[in-house]
Amino acid sequence: MALSDKELKEIAYLARINVNEESLSSLKKELEDILDLFDELNEADTSEVEAMSHPLDLSQPTRKDEVTEENLREELLKNAPSVKSGLFLVPKVIDGEN
C-alpha cells in the first residue's frame, strides 16, 4: 500500500515524532512494508471468527470503590521540571478558545 508524503507527515504529527526530510523516504518504505503485511492478514477469511479484543481469555478483576491514595502532591511535584502554587507548569497551550 502506497503512502503519500502528506499522509506520512500527518501520522508523524499525530505521534508527535519529528521526522526530517532525509529520513522521509526510508521511513515511508518501512511503513509501507508493514501495511503490506496487514493487507496479507486481511486476505484471511474471518467471517466465522469472533473478534478478539484481548489475547488472554480472562475477565477483568475489579476493586472496591475506596479511597486508598493519600495526598502525594509534594512527592509527585518533585518529578516536574517546573511547578508553581501546587500546579505543574507546561508551555502555554490554548486549544481553540477553550
Binding site: 475489579t62 486508598t68 495526598n71 502532591r73 518529578n79 501546587g86 500546579l87 478558545e97
Partner: protein, 481 residues
C-alpha cells in the same frame, strides 16, 4: 435574527457527559472530591508514571447498569475498553481510556414530554471513560498550570440518536436524563460545577429531505437555559446561512452566553484522528448474570413510575404529579408533607405555590427549606380541620418561614383561629348589612355583583378569620330575604 420559514426542520443529537459520584477514580484509589487543592487528589496512576496499571472501580459498573435499565437499554457483556489517542497536557497518558466497540450500555430510549406531546428519543449508547485534568491559563510567566485532580474521574457519556427536532425537545430530554441520574444517585448532576456537560450536534434540512444537512457541534453548554438558547441560535444561524446561499462548515463551536451567539473554535490544520484501539492494559469485562440481577434489585422507583403512582394513589393531576416527580427531593418532601396533612392535593398546591415562591426568592433548594415538611404538613392540617382559613394560613406561613415557629404556636399567640360559629358570623353579617343600606338596595334591585362587596366587608370585619364558605351561605340567605 428574523424568524425562519416553516420549510425547515432541525435534526439534533445530544452527547451528555455525566460525572459519576464514586468516592474514588475510575482506575485508581485517588479521591474524586470537588474543590480540593490542586494535585492533592492525583496519584501515580492518574499521572501515568512508568509501570502503573489501571484497576477498574467496580462501582462504575453498577452505576452504568442502573442507567442502562432506566434507559430501557441492552447491557453488553463482555464490555471492553479502548484507547483514544491524543496529546494534551491535562491528559498525562497521551490517551484517554474510553469505550468504542462494546460500550456497556447500548440501544435504549427515553420518553419525553413537551407542549407538543409525548415523543420517544432513541439512546444510541452510554459508555464509560475517564475525565481529563484542568489546564489553567492564568499568567504563570507565560506557561500554563496543570491540575490533575479531575484526571481519571469516571464519566458516562450518553449519546442520543439524532431524533430531537427542536430546542424545547433537547431541553426536555436533558432534564429527563438529569432527573434519572439524580434518582439513581449515580451523579449529583450539577451543571454549574461540570458534573453534567452537554454537547449538541445540530443540522438543518428542508422538510421532506432524506439527506441530513452538514452538522456543527456546540460544546460544553453549562445550564438548561443555555442549552435551549444555544441550540435555538444555531438552528436559526444555519437556516439564515443556507437561505443566503452559503454553506455550513462542519466544525466545533462554542456558545457565548453573554452575547447569546455561537462562534467557531479555531480550527486545526487537519482533523483529529484518535486512532482507537483495544486497551491492552484492561481485559474485557464479563458481567455475570447474578451481578446484574443483584444491581437491578437495588433500582429505586423512577420518575415516570412515581408520577403514575402520585396520580393513582393521591389523585393528583398528571401535570402536578409530573412536576413533583421530576425532582426526587421535591417528591420526597411532598410525600412527607402529605403523611402529616392527609391532604395530597392541598399539599401539592402549597409546595408548588407558596413554598416554591419562597425558595426561589431566597435561591434555596427544597432540602434547605426554612419550613420543614413536618411543619408545612401541620399548617395544612389546620386548614383542613377548619382551624384557620386558607388566607390566614398564608400569613401564618410567612411567619413560620421567618421565625421557624410551629403553626399552633402562632395561632395561639395571635388568636388567629377561624370563626366557624354560625351565630358569630350572622352577627357580623347583620352589622355589615345594616351599615350599607345603599348597596343592599342596589343588590336587591338586581346588581348581583355587589355580592362580592358584602363578602369582602364581612371578611374585613372578621379580620379574615371568618370561614369563607359559611360567610357565603349565610350572606346569600340574608340578602335574598
Amino acid at each position: 435574527m428574523k424568524n425562519y420559514s416553516e420549510d425547515w426542520e432541525a435534526v439534533i443529537g445530544l452527547e451528555i457527559h455525566v460525572q459519576l459520584s464514586t468516592k474514588s477514580k475510575l482506575f485508581s484509589g485517588a479521591s474524586t472530591n470537588f474543590g480540593a487543592l490542586p494535585n492533592t487528589q492525583a496519584c501515580n496512576i492518574d499521572l501515568a508514571l512508568p509501570g502503573v496499571l489501571p484497576v477498574l472501580n467496580e462501582e462504575v459498573l453498577r452505576m452504568a447498569i442502573k442507567l442502562g435499565k432506566a434507559l430501557n437499554a441492552e447491557i453488553n457483556s463482555p464490555t471492553s475498553f479502548a484507547r483514544k489517542n491524543y496529546f494534551y497536557p491535562d491528559s498525562p497518558k497521551g490517551y484517554q481510556i474510553s469505550q468504542m466497540d462494546r460500550p456497556i450500555v447500548e440501544d435504549g430510549y427515553l420518553d419525553i414530554e413537551t407542549d407538543k406531546g409525548a415523543k420517544r428519543i432513541g439512546v444510541t449508547r452510554a459508555h464509560l471513560e475517564e475525565d481529563a485534568g484542568k489546564s489553567l491559563h492564568d499568567d504563570f510567566e507565560g506557561q500554563s498550570g496543570i491540575d490533575l485532580n479531575r484526571a481519571g474521574t469516571p464519566l458516562l457519556e450518553i449519546v442520543s440518536e439524532p431524533e430531537i427536532s427542536s430546542s424545547e425537545e433537547a431541553v426536555a430530554y436533558l432534564k429527563s436524563i438529569h432527573s434519572i441520574i439524580r434518582y439513581l444517585e449515580i451523579s449529583d448532576g450539577n451543571m454549574a460545577e461540570g458534573s453534567m456537560r452537554c454537547d449538541a450536534n445540530v443540522s438543518v434540512r428542508k422538510k421532506g429531505d432524506e439527506k441530513l444537512g452538514t452538522r456543527t457541534e456546540t460544546k460544553n453548554v453549562n445550564s438548561f437555559r443555555f442549552v435551549e438558547k444555544a441550540i435555538q441560535y444555531e438552528i436559526e444561524r444555519q437556516i439564515h446561512e443556507l437561505e443566503s446561499g452559503n454553506k455550513i462548515t462542519q466544525e466545533t463551536r462554542l456558545y457565548d452566553s453573554q452575547a447569546n451567539t455561537t462562534r467557531p473554535m479555531r480550527s486545526k490544520e487537519f482533523a483529529n484522528d484518535y486512532r482507537y484501539f483495544p486497551e491492552p492494559d484492561l481485559l474485557p469485562i464479563n458481567l455475570k448474570k447474578e451481578f446484574i440481577e443483584e444491581v437491578l434489585a437495588t433500582m429505586p422507583e423512577m420518575p415516570n413510575q412515581k408520577r403514575e403512582r402520585f396520580v393513582s394513589q393521591f389523585s393528583l393531576s398528571e401535570y402536578d404529579a409530573g412536576l413533583l416527580a421530576a425532582d426526587k427531593d421535591l417528591a420526597d418532601f411532598f410525600e412527607e408533607v402529605t403523611k402529616v396533612s392527609n391532604s395530597p392535593k392541598l399539599s401539592a398546591n402549597w409546595i408548588m405555590g407558596e413554598l416554591s415562591a419562597e425558595l426561589n426568592n431566597e435561591n434555596l433548594s427544597i432540602k434547605e427549606s426554612k419550613v420543614t415538611s413536618n411543619k408545612l404538613g401541620q399548617l395544612i392540617s389546620r386548614i383542613e380541620d377548619g382551624t384557620i382559613s386558607g388566607k390566614i394560613a398564608k400569613d401564618i406561613f410567612e411567619k413560620m418561614w421567618s421565625s421557624g415557629k410551629e403553626v399552633d404556636a402562632i395561632i395561639k399567640d395571635e388568636g388567629l383561629e377561624q370563626v366557624t360559629d354560625d351565630k358569630e358570623i350572622e352577627t357580623m353579617i347583620d352589622e355589615v348589612i345594616a351599615n350599607n343600606p345603599e348597596q343592599l338596595e342596589q343588590y336587591r334591585s338586581g346588581k348581583d355583583r355587589l355580592f362580592g362587596f358584602f363578602v369582602g366587608q364581612v371578611m374585613k370585619a372578621s379580620q379574615g378569620k371568618a370561614n369563607p364558605k359559611q360567610v357565603n351561605d349565610i350572606l346569600k340567605s340574608k340578602l335574598e330575604k
